[in-house]
């Protein structure tokens, strides 16, 4: 995706590609049953060795990025993951690691963070399943317990990639505004209910919290800073998810382009018809614009530029809409063959549609952009 990648970055990307192709090739992507808890743990641990979960964490806390711009490094990995429809809590773990590094207390930074960086556990962000203009804190209410801790009650639906033994970053409403806490997925009062999903390459759960008691040292930030931290988390999640989505778009487009060259109808390759050629040209433009805006968002967000959150929302909005257009157009080019289970088309259709809807859909990010811009 990025022609400016450094040599170090390229080396990491190459070894990451080999890892993905060996550990989770298409046959494994297609077969959710092969991706059980043991698989997930093994995958995560190998990924951690490649540094997949350290990029947003400062060196002082055991992390480190190759280029100095951790968001950019992570986005390049995300792009490769998307193209190969990779499962696993990549986005969630990075977002939560980043949040703990920024606002976590000593215990979180000493106990949870190293486990995330080392791939010993993953983390999921339990935010509200927002569409439209909803708040990420909705669904779970927090009350203070008098000692600086919280008691959480409510539910979050469609939480991405909650893995056994992992952690949850719960964003909840309190009378003082949004609050956040890190909770073990197997803590007392936490219920994790697996869901069916359009996207076969990911796992979704409903997270139920029934009076879950959180100690003060598991609370992230304070009333004054949480809203900004949530915005930052959303920007990181949006950027990484956009990058995964662009990877999937690119792979699906390549597959479709090849088909348009090979498939013969009416005595010609179908790609010689303007009806197909022009759709592919438009789609290719959408891919190029999506790459350009996602890299811009990653570069900006990862370099402490104030414009980062706006750029991230712009990328998520543009990429989300473009990806669904792309998937619909590619499906149309494939025709009937794309309607068969064996063909990969639908895996990409499903994946990019979930990319588009998670962590704020396009409309949500457009509204968020307006708010970030002060209107």
């Amino acid at each position: 995706m990025d022609s400016d990648a450094t040599e170090d970055q390229r080396a990491l990307l190459d070894v990451s590609v080999r890892f993905m192709e060996e550990t989770c090739p298409p046959a494994v992507v297609r077969d959710a049953e092969r991706r059980d808890a043991a698989f997930a743990a093994g995958y995560r641990s190998q990924a951690a060795e490649l540094g997949w979960f350290s990029m947003l964490v400062p060196e002082a806390l055991g992390g480190g990025s190759l280029s100095g711009n951790g968001v950019l490094d992570a986005a390049l990995i995300a792009y490769l993951r998307g193209g190969r429809l990779q499962p696993g809590a990549f986005v969630g773990t990075n977002v939560v690691a980043d949040a703990i590094a920024r606002a976590g207390g000593a215990r979180l930074q000493a106990e949870v963070l190293p486990a995330l960086v080392a791939g010993e556990a993953s983390a999921a962000w339990a935010l509200a399943a927002t569409a439209g203009a909803g708040s990420p804190a909705a669904g779970v209410d927090a009350r203070t317990d008098g000692t600086g801790g919280l008691v959480l009650s409510g539910a979050k639906t469609a939480v991405l990639d909650v893995e056994p033994g992992g952690w949850l970053l719960v964003t909840a409403s309190s009378p003082d505004g949004p609050v956040q806490a890190v909770v073990a997925a197997d803590a007392p009062g936490v219920g994790i209910v697996a869901l069916d999903s359009l996207d076969l390459s990911r796992r979704f759960s409903e997270v139920r919290l029934d009076g879950v008691v959180v100690a003060a040292d598991a609370v992230l930030g304070d009333a004054g800073s949480t809203a900004a931290l949530v915005d930052h988390q959303l920007a990181v999640a949006a950027t990484l998810l956009a990058a995964e989505c662009v990877g999937a778009m690119d792979a699906e487009f390549a597959m479709t382009l090849q088909y348009a060259k090979d498939r013969i109808a009416f005595g010609r390759p179908i790609g010689s018809f303007q009806a197909i050629k022009h759709v592919l040209a438009d789609t290719s433009l959408a891919v190029e614009m999506s790459k350009a805006i996602t890299l811009a968002a990653a570069r900006t967000l990862g370099s402490q530029d104030d414009h980062g959150p706006a750029a991230a929302s712009m990328a998520k909005a543009l990429v989300g809409d473009s990806a669904i257009d792309l998937a619909q157009n590619c499906f149309q080019v494939f025709g009937g063959i794309g309607y068969t289970w064996e063909h990969d088309q639908h895996l990409y259709l499903r994946r990019v549609t979930s990319d588009a809807g998670l962590f704020g859909d396009a409309a949500w990010h457009r509204e968020h952009l307006c708010q970030l811009s002060g209107i």
Binding site: L195, L198, G267, R268, G336, Y339
Partner: protein, 418 residues
């Protein structure tokens, strides 16, 4: 119409009495069952028994010729029977029945030899023979005449090899009507022939296709030196395209039997979805709901407008039907996408097994079926452009050349002409 034919209203009274005496009233629980949900041989056998009853009563193939076991009446009589029987249990063969009694039976009656018709049509009307089409191929979809399945004459036998796909319900059928190329040295429309093949013939392999929506109503077939005889030819050798055209007319007509009613309630499924996800007050969701409903409403009135145009024109041009097909092909996927937008993450993931909550995702996966099957949106646009609007034709590279040469040229396509 012949003079001695029974009047429609007399026929209706007669049918009403027979139905009341012979058929069971439809229970409410079965009313929701839709064509296409017949998926097992048990269901087919159940339908066969009932069909036999109709046949014996004189109510199978009402508009088929009497000499082939039908009643020899008109579509109006047929419609009268349907209306009278609406509240009763009638044979339901699912999509394979629609194809058998519709496009295939009619094509046979119009094109096959009298011997062939006597052999097969009564069996069809009795419910003994269910048929499917071996028509589309992996390499011949939109290009309906681009058939590569090969039939070679060997004495008085024909040997057929190739592969077919998108045969609705073939795994439930007894016979297949199969299109094969019998002359490769003439232009593509001129070397085709239709054959009847028993689905259990040696060399026939039928495999259900698993679809992206989890269903498997379509099949693919592999034909490996399947042997048939001269007697199994439907129509004339190398004149198969004439049969195809008849078949396409009935196929298109078949979709139109159910007249929808004007959609007045604002997209009820989307309103319910927006309420479920708490977005009924959200302006964006409201816009999406209204957009979907307006398109539904406009499509309904477009359909009525086109039906009027076909009915009231002395020389109707059936090409205008492409408008309805294109509208469905454009607005169905759009509507499914609007559903996903309204639902948001709640449409991406739902309680395991909850069909209602999973519905927007299912609609989304099914959304492009109509934009692809039975003539893609692109094929409809060409048809509207050339046949309705009279725009100059797309250059054709395959209508005047031997099909063999077309295939050769296509593989070496360089875009150069003349």
């Amino acid at each position: 119409m012949n003079d001695t034919m029974i009047d429609v209203e007399d026929f209706r009274r007669e049918a009403r009495a027979w139905i009341a005496a012979n058929l069971e009233p439809r229970e409410r629980v079965r009313a929701g069952r839709v064509v296409g949900e017949v998926t097992t041989h048990e269901q087919i056998d159940e339908a066969r028994a009932l069909q036999r009853k109709l046949f014996d009563g004189g109510y199978a193939g009402i508009s088929y010729p009497a000499e082939y076991g039908g009643r020899g009446l008109t579509p109006a009589h047929e419609q009268a029977f349907r209306e009278e029987a609406a509240g009763y249990v009638t044979p339901d063969f699912g999509v394979v029945g629609v194809v058998t009694m519709g496009a295939i039976g009619r094509s046979i009656a119009e094109h096959a030899s009298p011997e062939f018709c006597r052999r097969h049509i009564p069996a069809i009307l009795r419910g003994d023979e269910m048929w499917c089409q071996f028509y589309s191929e992996p390499e011949a979809g939109s290009d309906l005449a681009g058939i590569r399945t090969r039939a070679t004459r060997d004495g008085d036998r024909w040997v057929i090899s190739g592969s077919k796909i998108w045969s609705s319900g073939a795994y439930l059928a007894d016979w297949a009507m199969c299109l094969a190329r019998t002359d490769w040295d003439v232009p593509k429309h001129r070397g085709l022939t239709w054959f009847a093949i028993p689905c259990d013939a040696k060399g026939v392999t039928i495999r259900q296709i698993r679809q992206i929506n989890g269903g498997a109503e379509f099949c693919e077939e592999f034909l490996d030196e399947v042997e048939v005889t001269e007697d199994d030819i439907i129509g004339e050798v190398n004149r198969g395209w004439a049969v195809t055209q008849t078949m396409l007319v009935y196929e298109r007509g078949a979709g139109e039997t159910a007249t929808p009613t004007e959609p007045r309630a604002l997209a009820p499924d989307l309103v319910a979805l927006a309420r479920r996800v708490g977005r009924i007050e959200d302006p964006a969701a409201r816009q999406a709901i209204a957009r979907a409903h307006i398109n539904d409403y406009a499509q309904f009135h477009l359909g009525r407008r086109i039906a009027d145009r076909l009915e009231h024109s002395h020389n109707p041009d059936h090409a205008v039907a492409a408008y309805s097909k294109l509208a469905a092909g454009v607005y169905t996927p759009l509507r499914a996408r609007l559903g996903m937008e309204i639902g948001g993450p709640a449409a991406l993931a739902w309680a395991i097994g909850d069909e209602a909550e999973g519905r927007p995702a299912l609609d989304y996966l099914n959304g492009r079926r109509i934009s692809i099957a039975a003539g893609t949106n692109e094929v409809q646009r060409n048809g509207i452009g050339e046949r309705v609007l009279g725009l100059p034709r797309e250059p054709s590279f395959d209508t005047n050349k031997a099909f063999n040469e077309v295939l050769r040229n296509a593989r070496n396509w360089d875009g150069k002409v003349g």
